[in-house]
Symmetry: C2
Amino acid sequence: MAKDNQFVSQIADIETDFPQWYTDVVVKTKLVDYGPVKGTMVIRPYGYAIWENIQKELDSRFKAMGVENAYFPLLIPMSFMTKEAEHVEGFAPEVAVVTHAGGAKLEEPLVVRPTSETIIGYMMGKWVESWRDLPLRQNQWCNVMRWEKTTRPFLRTSEFLWQEGHSVFATGEEAETETLNMLRLYEEFAKNVLCMPVLTGRKTEKEKFAGAVATYGMEAMMHDGKSLQSGTTHYMGQNFAKAFGVQFTGKDGVLEHGYTMSYGVSTRLIGALIMTHGDQRGLVLPPPVAPVQVVIVPIAAKKEGVTEACAALCGRLQKAGFRVKLDDSENSPGWKFNEWEMKGVPIRIELGPRDIENGKMTVFRRDTCEKNELDLAAAERETGASLAEISENLYRKAEKRMHERIVDADTLDGLLKGVDGGNFVRAGWCGCRACEDKVKEFAQATARVMDKENSAQKCVVCGKPSVHTVLFARAY
Amino acid sequence: MAKDNQFVSQIADIETDFPQWYTDVVVKTKLVDYGPVKGTMVIRPYGYAIWENIQKELDSRFKAMGVENAYFPLLIPMSFMTKEAEHVEGFAPEVAVVTHAGGAKLEEPLVVRPTSETIIGYMMGKWVESWRDLPLRQNQWCNVMRWEKTTRPFLRTSEFLWQEGHSVFATGEEAETETLNMLRLYEEFAKNVLCMPVLTGRKTEKEKFAGAVATYGMEAMMHDGKSLQSGTTHYMGQNFAKAFGVQFTGKDGVLEHGYTMSYGVSTRLIGALIMTHGDQRGLVLPPPVAPVQVVIVPIAAKKEGVTEACAALCGRLQKAGFRVKLDDSENSPGWKFNEWEMKGVPIRIELGPRDIENGKMTVFRRDTCEKNELDLAAAERETGASLAEISENLYRKAEKRMHERIVDADTLDGLLKGVDGGNFVRAGWCGCRACEDKVKEFAQATARVMDKENSAQKCVVCGKPSVHTVLFARAY
């Protein structure tokens, strides 16, 4: 137990200092490290493997929707950014700019993409000619850059990895439908792959993407009750199509502008799952994305047959399709327990001489921190069942917390009390920007998403009739 | 046949104007398009799908070697570049530089990575402490930027996609062995996945990577007899370890610098396979990376049962694991034949009422342009066998051409005549830079790789005793 305490003491208290807990966990588990330039991160192998699993799951979903992957240039002419008025206003303050290249000053400065609506709009303007070319659905997995003042690994860094999907449709209706379909795709993915419940809905004008007609977001509740925007989809109407000449000849022979939409999630999702599932011991990784789903720790490894039995079990489970690691290092079992618990491996199997003799294995579940003795002969089935139970349990736990922590308020004081208590607060809103700003000023909370139905009577700020019921929260 | 000619006429003659043939093919088959900034490219879905297949094949090979993926920042402090003297000399002239970000001038300009030895060296310096941390093998799939004067899609563009692997070892011997092992991995990959024969060997001092002790390259012969450098591996000795303080405590307790190596291939490989296998009709894609391996074209599609039979066949082949497309568009069969031949699909299956009645299918092989009637009932087996034969045949054809076109020379005139005739020329070299430069000046050819054995008697330029037998060629 001394070792246990020693490890736990390396991580700040999750309840009293959640920001430090987060930093401790992401650095000590080697998910990430700080890069040499302020605000940059290095995604280390253990973190990158989570990203690869996220990519694989999302990519197959996109492809099933008819989306094709492509790659567009990193550098965007500065003049492109200014073609959509709201877009430049939103992104210009945070872009990084290439002014020199190949030993000379460039004629026009180039922006390192903060997002690619403009350059993809330009290319789609070249490609789309007739209604036969539509819909056009493309996606890219790439790096983007937004120069942020305060940064934190995965949550907000100057450079991050993401996917950005961009599609053109012949009608606004189709583009809007796709915008909502992609939001549902993200929601399903969050639930089934990240084991993370989310709330989805439309964003307010203030919170929407710069240049969009409508932005939809999914928000997840973190351990501290704050919200993390985990994915967004945007309906652009004809804004970008007009700015970049994306035109097509319709079936009726008439030339018309297309309707575009875009959608993205990023390495921020790694931050989201850490802050959703983590506990005092460290990471708790959802089985579908865990780089190691099962770690096997030999007990009394020098006793006859233990090493062989562990290797055999490892081989069996790998063959069954699980991601398994056999920790046959020189460290003590207690050290290994702590290490892999901190690293959030869903299942630990301990196998010693007595287990082997009895045809048993000791299975530790990271989510409940409980041990069970299970049949060694049924290891494949038991592992599969346990991983499924862990996924289910992680989701249910997070969902229960989220629902317990959504409260209603009909006054600003009530709203403040709600968010101070680590809750999301549902309240009426008249729809005006002044009242939205007032909430921010008074309670340091922002409108996360709007409910589909307006169930509130009056605006939580001014008392005028409510137009939208809004979920307010403090957010990352 | 009118349509046939119409299509062929869109592509420049492969024998008399190979550069234009290349441009025509990559643009018309929608592999790639030109980006808005000079020297940039957009990799379109058909091209990107090839890259995804390349990535998948290479990535599994790297992982089997114990390499882990990670992600390092795009922007590198300018001061890092200058820490290794040769490195900065080699790369400084072609970097793009970020001078402004977040609305302000940066204190230190940041370089958009042309390669990541410096920043990865810096991070590895932080991570490596003891011999227990070694070997450390990491790789990243990312974009890099080199501001080039003359550009061509896939072959040379200001931005391109690649993988760069970087490893640290405790001894120079291990690092050198890994450098050669990775070269062999690339060679095996080129053969079995790209169906492309390559010649491998060490580069001369002039041609080596800026900062390396030794660079090894693989060179492939293109249709026009020119060479394309298709992959390189570099042994760095302690050059970068010393520049970035990559030090470890050995088993003996002594602090020592590590030995590093790196290796990379890029989207250039797509250009390589196009120029290796392509013909007058357009692309000829190797089955292992072809986005579509089999296209099914219905004949007399409106006749009863044809559409259903084609869909059933498509389903069967997809289930068997092949990448299959059923072209049920409104276009005529002749139009489809041309389109998919130009796009290089390895196998076309034509299925009409008579075929169905006879239990047959007509199979067109893109490599030989021959048609065969095969049993419909054995479609899975026949398709697998044909794809394997195509891969084998593509490799043999390219290998035969390459070996026929390697000639020996013992005079500069002979060397010039050789490369003028579209050959690689094997010749003796005294090892001095002046003679290497003379070959370039006289024959516009460069030293591609050096043979392991020095089989030549004297230097092709100065006549002094030969120290290395060198493969000279004109190169992309």
